[in-house]
Amino acid sequence: MAFAGFLVRRLLQAIPVVIGVTIVVFLLIHLVPGDPARTALGPHATPRAIERLHHEWGLDRPLPTQYWLFMKRLLTGDLGTSLRLKQPAGSLVVERMPVTLWLIGYATFLTCLLAVPAALLAASRQGALRDRLVRVLSVVALGIPGFWLGLMLIEYVAVDAQLLPSAGYGSGFIGHLESLFLPSLTIALGITPLVIRSLRAETLKVAESDFVTTARAKGLSERQIRLRHVLRNALAPSVAVLAVNVSFLVGGTLVIEQVFSLGGVGTLMLQGINSRDFPVVQAVTLILALVVVAINIMGDLVQALIDPRVEAR
């Protein structure tokens, strides 16, 4: 029952954040220097078309009224209408969401696969060669731009070596796994160094705890201590570290989708930017922020499941 209470509390805590997110997204359009309607419609727009868009976006009313209208439409699922495609921006985003969610999930999985063993290896003997090696490799990897790495993987792994598809989403579960491997790997490599760094520090912190000393005094082998005590207690903080880094990961998908021509939400946003389609850009920004909020809540719930002490916080 305590878990249900935690879930409710966590959801309630998210409400002010979500309201804040809507305010930021709402204000975006007011940051446009000059008249946003004129900017959106281009230099050849007629005064009447601009007038109509002013009215449609509510720009002719006071700011609080505009926000009220924005929220009222939002609550009915209306995120505005794309200027170029003449379709509801919300459904455009939802249509393209599966690829992006696949990328986020797949990249998170690959990040765990890479970061957890590397961090445990590094933390198993602080200051040893393996520790320094992991550190140097992650410092170098952190500086590799994702879009460049993606291009290199396409050129050398997909095109030259013909190992994996270079573009597209594939079909069916296996097809997705295959087609999205390189893009997910690219995204994962971007955040893996950050995750390794925090995980290593968390593991070292746990390894210094009193209960580890007790376990050692009890005569457990180092291997047993590491698996049963250190790893288990480092797991909850690791989930927290992952959840924090998802924010980077979601941003990464946007660029990598473009590199691998995947046609997800990121591609939609960049198309929206090229055609000065404000409602689409706003819709993508809002929905991706909500995805991050949802992932953070999920991260907290997983932590609470692993470690009951988390609920008490």
Binding site: I23, V24, V139, I144, G146, W148, V255
Partner: protein, 307 residues
């Protein structure tokens, strides 16, 4: 909020000579930020190598006009896509016959300078806000925590791209957009640290000693908490350089014809099969710059963060 009821807020004004004397005698005397940093920065391999790399890049960028062999925007239509090693063009030319080396050098000016420049605003503003919020608490703290939570909820790159889009392209836009988002990280760091320090005995002692709040913050609290932010700033510079080149790659960065490493990679995409060096060379430049900044961060962390 504090044990000595209201003292920190009630003693503004120039310090009397007695106050200065109390402060000078204290073994917990505040030190100027520069001295704390200067004393602990000794010989340190990662720091030295990192500083050398970034110093060299900054020098190259600053002297771009003198050392670059060609005009980075001058096109030689008869000499396009020349491979590295071509006479007169050590690193070859691009699809418009522009000299790759010269574009790389001017890219150092744009990318490294803009990245470090973009760091200053969020660092200063975020740290100030964080220290005041953490030290004073109250409504200001609550509001700031709310704002920070909201901005952190956005995927950074997505919000950055949206901001650059609405503000229109340009270096000024990049600096403003980075500042609007990035200050929250510094604010959070400084707030946590300031909250921790505010209840420490040396701060209470300074409050009892009647030292004005601004002086406690400036001479006692800031020097004790700033090292963490400085270390973070260098890691942050890595991210900002990646953001700026990513913006360039997406066509939202430093506007052409000015050269930028990200734009160079974007332009090289169609030629990657036969002229791979066009994409590889600027990529290596980004990695080297980011590596230099990471080394500085690493070295500073070892020097400043004794814990």
């Amino acid at each position: 909020m504090s044990v000595v009821g209201g003292l920190p807020n009630g003693t503004e004004g120039p310090p009397t000579s007695a106050e200065v004397e109390v402060e000078a005698r204290s073994p917990l005397r505040g030190m100027a930020v520069g001295r704390v940093v200067g004393r602990r920065v000794g010989a340190n391999a990662s720091l030295v190598i990192g500083l050398a790399i970034i110093g060299a890049l900054l020098l190259i960028g600053a002297l771009a006009g003198v050392i670059s062999p060609h005009d980075p925007v001058k096109q030689e239509i008869g000499n396009t896509l020349a491979p590295p090693g071509t006479a007169g063009h050590i690193l070859g030319t691009d699809q418009l016959g522009r000299d790759t080396l010269s574009r790389l050098i001017y890219g150092a000016r744009n990318d490294v300078f803009v990245a470090l420049g973009a760091l200053v605003l969020p660092f200063v503003f975020g740290t100030l806000v964080g220290i005041v919020a953490g030290y004073r608490g109250g409504w200001f703290d609550s509001v700031m925590v709310g704002v920070i939570d909201v901005i952190i909820a956005f995927p950074i790159l997505v919000l950055l791209i949206a901001l650059v889009f609405v503000l229109g392209p340009g270096v000024k836009t990049i600096i403003i957009s980075v500042a609007l988002i990035d200050w929250v990280v510094y604010a959070r760091l400084a707030r946590t640290a300031a909250r921790r320090e505010a209840v420490m005995e040396y701060v209470l002692a300074a409050q009892v000693g009647g030292i004005p709040t601004w002086r406690i913050l400036g001479r006692h609290v800031v020097p004790n908490i700033i090292s963490q932010s400085i270390i973070y700033a260098m890691s942050d510079a890595v991210l900002i350089i990646l953001f700026i080149t990513t913006l360039g790659f997406l066509g939202l960065g430093i506007p052409p014809p000015a050269s930028d490493w990200g734009t160079m990679i974007a332009e090289a995409q169609p030629y990657i099969n036969n002229q791979w060096w066009l994409a590889v060379i600027p990529g290596i430049a980004i990695i080297v710059a980011a590596f230099g900044l990471s080394l500085i961060a690493d070295g500073l962390a070892q020097r400043l963060d004794a814990r």
